[in-house]
């Protein structure tokens, strides 16, 4: 979230799209209800189904799964065509005036530089034009035909309300009503927030859907302000923290990135990530990349990371290709993996195409599962009848299942969607012999280290030289680890303005990332968390909930990254002179000497606004981008592409171009492409989702939740049900080209057939929560049906739009 949960109460308009906050985040949704009750806010829900969120909305608009870019592109077109944009904001805080290179082009759904064989682009033309001074060329009059504003306008002029109705199935009058509500927030004193979740990410075009939403918000001047923002409602309690800490194939903590094979030279690796400003007097905060990186390597490898060995650069594995989850499971399916660890993760249920997953796991030599619960993954080798029909005698995988503690039995910090790091405390002993994950990881590491010490083996250096300064080596305390990722001074740290002044003494905890150095004098395991455990103690454990300004900032409750900042980009809540656009909801302001207010300024604290520094300090331009440059796989402006399984089979925007039916740059492997189904055999659009009574695949183990939602079902519309001769409570079979499940039919008015390009299309709703373990009635794994195809940027699977057929059992 750019903002945070309580801040939603400041919104005047709330758009929930690509998510179902009432269903999946009910306690956060209370702030929507609060905005309605005490801020006269209007709630808009755009969703294929009339959801629990829709049940309390002022306006509900249906949409076909997977057509969100068409819808949002239509909103952009409406806002530009009707001049419903925050002029002062977009002119000063976005790339509207920047001129794009002459060789950049968009034709027939493809951007310049497409390589059909590789399904990817050469992105060199996706760039701004540079002037003689090296800076980006800007035309503040917006007259230049290739300035971002004009390109944007031309690109989305095709996204008319009629096109939206045809492609999305959203009635034109409802669509226009959505546009009007959003447009009402183009004024400086009104705010709209967008709340989304996996309904946007789980598409082959997920990242671009989210970008389109962000573009709407930028046009309206809704980024960086109270009650505004792009708010990703994250699904697991520490999914934000694990992302922040870089537990992903290509990341290191704090969104630092692993080097590639080609980056053999440390200097070049650092240089490419140390972004220089693209406009005069811009902050370009990634200029500090070396400080973040060196401090990380000092935290991990201590004295073994030196300037001479480029801070142990060789210890870091180099990447030759993507090793994301789908890629790794595909390699596992091909027999290229021997071992796999599942720590509190149940991929047999959570990953697409269960049949492929079962086959993949069966090819492993060993599988290690650490979990508080008996997951499906841990028993992938065991026959569970119709729900999981395998023959254990044919499966050679050794499985070691290790019982872990759950939340109640351990302490530590979790990062919420609002980026708050909150400490929690242990309240009970674990059952039986269950151990903390920390003890298990430490146990494995210490055994490996001993083996490498005594026997030697492949490249033992990083294993032997890793820092392990913990008082109880066999189970480091969460406090010690938290202090390590927050960071400390290894030597006295001097003030850069006056080297005689020591700002931090050796051995002290750092106050924040401003104190990080690239000379090895500081260690911090995750720069964005720097300062969460300072000399003042564990700030994540703070419990002062006072809210002096009444806009919900509670700055002394826990600690938010970065730098305890609660609303990102908050400099943009003020006009160029530093005066709040909306004095009634002031976050920060320039007081003549410094920036101050209800939040920690997301800006250089003493930067006079007259200097023209832009509010988007992480971008080297200093402003927000409509034109993504090379940051996205599919192109600088989002374009509508069909889901990989489309009820149309062609892209209605480019009906004659077979290369752009689905995203031309998405992640799909050849054998998975062959497993795709077509509309003639599978005519309905299916979408998977959560129910409020359950959490993922966990709560089927929880009696109370099994009681309130006991049995697997699918949702079909009344019209569809009538066609099938199905009544509520009947059992139906839902099949895709990859498998089938059977479940009870919930027949509902809440799903209606949509007219897409003149033909009726039914939507089928498939809740995900069931499986063959637990106290709820056993059921089929919903991902039996889903396709193994991922977004081109995040590789997130397309769970939200695929084709099925429904039959009465």
């Amino acid at each position: 979230m750019t903002n945070h949960w309580v801040d939603i109460k400041n919104a005047d308009v709330v758009l929930i799209m690509g998510g179902n906050a009432a269903e999946a985040h009910p306690c956060g949704f209370k702030w929507v209800v609060e905005a309605k009750a005490h801020n006269q806010a209007k709630l808009i829900v755009v969703d294929p189904r009339f959801t629990r969120s829709a049940s309390v909305a002022d306006l509900y608009c249906p949409i076909r799964p997977g057509s969100d870019i068409a819808f949002l592109g239509g909103v952009i077109n409406y806002l530009l065509a009707n001049e419903a944009i925050h002029r002062e904001y977009v002119t000063n805080y976005t790339d509207f005036s920047f001129v794009v290179r002459e060789d950049f082009a968009f034709k027939d759904g493809l951007y310049s530089g497409y390589d059909e064989a590789k399904h990817s682009y050469d992105k060199s033309s996706w760039e701004y034009e540079r002037g003689k001074d090296g800076y980006v060329v800007s035309d503040p009059t917006l007259a230049h035909p290739r300035c971002v504003y004009n390109l944007l306008k031309a690109h989305y002029a095709r996204y008319t309300p009629e096109m939206v109705e045809r492609v999305c199935g959203s009635p034109k009058d409802k669509f226009l009503e959505v546009c009007k509500h959003l447009a009402s927030t183009a004024t400086p004193t009104r705010a709209a927030t967008i709340m989304y979740a996996l309904g946007w990410t789980q598409h082959s075009t997920g990242s671009q859907i989210i970008r389109t939403g962000a573009m709407v918000q930028l046009l309206l001047g809704n980024i960086g302000i109270a009650g505004g923002g792009m708010n990703a409602l994250r699904g697991h309690s520490n999914i934000q923290g694990l992302t922040d800490l870089g537990l992903m194939a290509n990341l290191l903590p704090g969104y630092l990135t692993l080097p590639k094979d080609s980056e053999q030279d440390y200097g070049a690796y650092i240089e490419s990530r140390t972004q220089k400003p693209l406009r005069p007097n811009q902050m370009s905060y990634w200029q500090n990349y070396p400080r973040f990186h060196v401090s990380l390597m000092k935290a991990w490898y201590g004295a073994a990371a030196t300037a001479e060995n480029h801070w142990a650069y060789d210890f870091l594995p180099k990447l030759d290709k993507g090793y994301d989850m789908l890629a790794v499971f595909d390699r596992m399916f091909d027999g290229q993996l021997n071992g796999y660890f599942c720590q509190g993760f149940n991929p047999l249920a959570a990953a697409p195409n269960k049949a492929k997953m079962t086959a993949a796991f069966s090819k492993l030599k060993y599988l290690v599962v650490m979990d508080p619960l008996a997951t499906e993954t841990s028993e992938f080798w065991k026959n569970h009848g119709e729900f999981h029909d395998v023959d254990a005698a044919q499966i050679d995988t050794e499985v070691i299942r290790l019982p872990t503690t759950c939340f109640a039995e351990e302490e530590g910090a979790l990062v919420s969607s609002g980026r708050w790091l909150q400490w929690h405390w242990k309240g009970a002993e674990p059952p039986g012999e269950a151990r903390t994950d920390i003890a298990i990881i430490a146990g494995i590491y210490r055994r490996l280290r001993k083996l490498y010490e005594t026997e030697g083996g492949a490249y033992p250096d990083p294993i032997l030289k890793m820092t392990w300064p913990y008082a109880r080596a066999e189970e480091p305390s969460p406090e010690e680890i938290a202090r390590e990722y927050s960071g400390k001074a290894l030597a006295d740290v001097a003030d850069p303005k006056d080297p005689k002044v020591v700002v931090r003494k050796a051995g002290e905890q750092l106050a924040g990332f401003a104190e990080l150095r690239d000379d090895g004098s500081t260690a911090s395991g995750c720069w964005i968390f720097a300062g969460c455990w300072s000399e003042a103690g564990n700030l994540m454990a703070r419990r002062d909930n006072s809210d002096p300004t009444g806009i919900g900032q509670t700055r002394n409750w826990a600690w938010a990254w970065p730098a305890n900042r609660r609303v990102l980009y908050n400099r943009a809540s003020c006009d160029p002179a530093g005066k709040p656009f909306n004095p009634a909801r002031k976050l920060v302001a320039w007081n003549g000497k410094a920036w101050a207010g209800a939040d920690v300024p997301d800006f250089k604290a003493d930067e006079d606004p007259a200097g023209g520094m832009g509010p988007f300090i992480m971008n080297p331009e200093g402003v927000a981008r409509f034109f993504a440059r090379g940051a996205m796989a599919e192109g600088p402006f989002p374009e509508h592409y069909e889901p990989f399984e489309s009820p149309l089979g062609y892209n209605p925007l480019h009906p004659k171009e077979p290369r752009v039916v689905a995203s031309p740059a998405a992640r799909i492997f050849k054998k998975d492409r062959e497993a795709l189904g077509k509309a003639d055999a599978f005519p309905c659009v299916a979408t998977t989702y959560r129910l409020t009574e359950h959490f993922h695949y966990w709560t089927k183990h929880v009696r109370l939740n099994a009681i309130v939602q006991p049995e697997q079902f699918v949702e079909i519309g009344e019209v569809h049900a009538k066609e099938l001769g199905v009544r509520a409570g009947d059992r139906v079979k839902v099949s895709s080209n990859r498998g089938s499940i059977r479940a009870v039919a919930v027949v509902t008015k809440r799903i209606k057939p949509l007219t897409i390009e003149g033909k009726p299309v039914h939507t089928v709703g498939i809740p995900i929560h069931w499986g063959f373990k637990g106290v709820a009635k056993p059921g089929f794994i919903a991902n039996t049906l889903t396709p193994f195809v991922g977004d081109g940027n995040t590789q997130t699977p397309e769970f939200k739009a695929f084709l099925v057929k429904v039959e009465r059992v």
Partner: protein, 196 residues
């Protein structure tokens, strides 16, 4: 009597059968003044925690038996929302409100277990056996398949034949330590729930 439906009538006359007869026949329950159920949290130990499900990150209060005296083993018997928490202000959704049954779920794992190739059974093993086995399997695979240099002779130091999915509900501290250890082994096939 116009509003007395047949169903209501049946309820009255049918249900009268056994019970009210008892009253008539002289069995009268002891006349007592009402006492509400005893408040069960009176001296329970209260611990602050965070709901482990979604990222709203609601504050919760766990109530457990025992006052943390040496001889008392703590066990949680009730969980409700933390009213001081700025986001949830004491509320919990049906998942949070049902957390007690997660803590005490029949599906909780209690001991390390091992499944041998082709076996149809779990076998209980000790922690030492389990962790020794894991370390040996890892080392054998790493030593056999570690890629120190790619075909172009570039130093790459990666281990691609073992991978990991990390938890999305574990603490920062678990995540950080896991990352530090796994990356130092050279593992690149490393992801978490954020990918899906």
């Amino acid at each position: 009597m116009a509003q007395l439906s047949r169903r209501d009538f049946l309820k009255v006359s049918g249900a009268t059968l056994a019970a009210s007869s008892l009253v008539v026949l002289g069995f009268t329950p002891e006349t007592a003044l009402a006492e509400v159920r005893q408040f069960k949290l009176a001296r329970a130990t209260e611990t602050r925690n965070t709901c482990p499900y979604c990222s709203v990150a609601c504050g919760i209060l766990m109530y457990s038996y025992g006052d943390r005296a040496k001889n008392a083993r703590s066990s949680v018997f009730h969980i409700e929302g933390d009213p001081d928490h700025p986001v949830n202000r004491g509320t919990l959704c049906p998942k949070g409100a049902g957390l007690l049954d997660f803590v005490h779920s029949d599906s909780r794992l209690r001991y390390p277990e091992y499944r041998a190739p082709k076996s149809n059974e779990w076998q209980r093993i000790s922690w030492d056996e389990a962790l020794d086995k894991v370390a040996k399997l890892m080392k054998a695979d790493r030593d056999a398949h570690f890629v120190a240099k790619n075909p172009d002779g570039q130093t790459v130091n990666r281990w691609t034949s073992t991978g990991m999915l990390a938890a999305s509900a574990s603490s920062n501290e678990t995540a950080y330590l896991t990352h530090k250890v796994m990356r130092s082994l050279g593992i690149v096939g490393f992801d978490n729930q954020a990918r899906v």
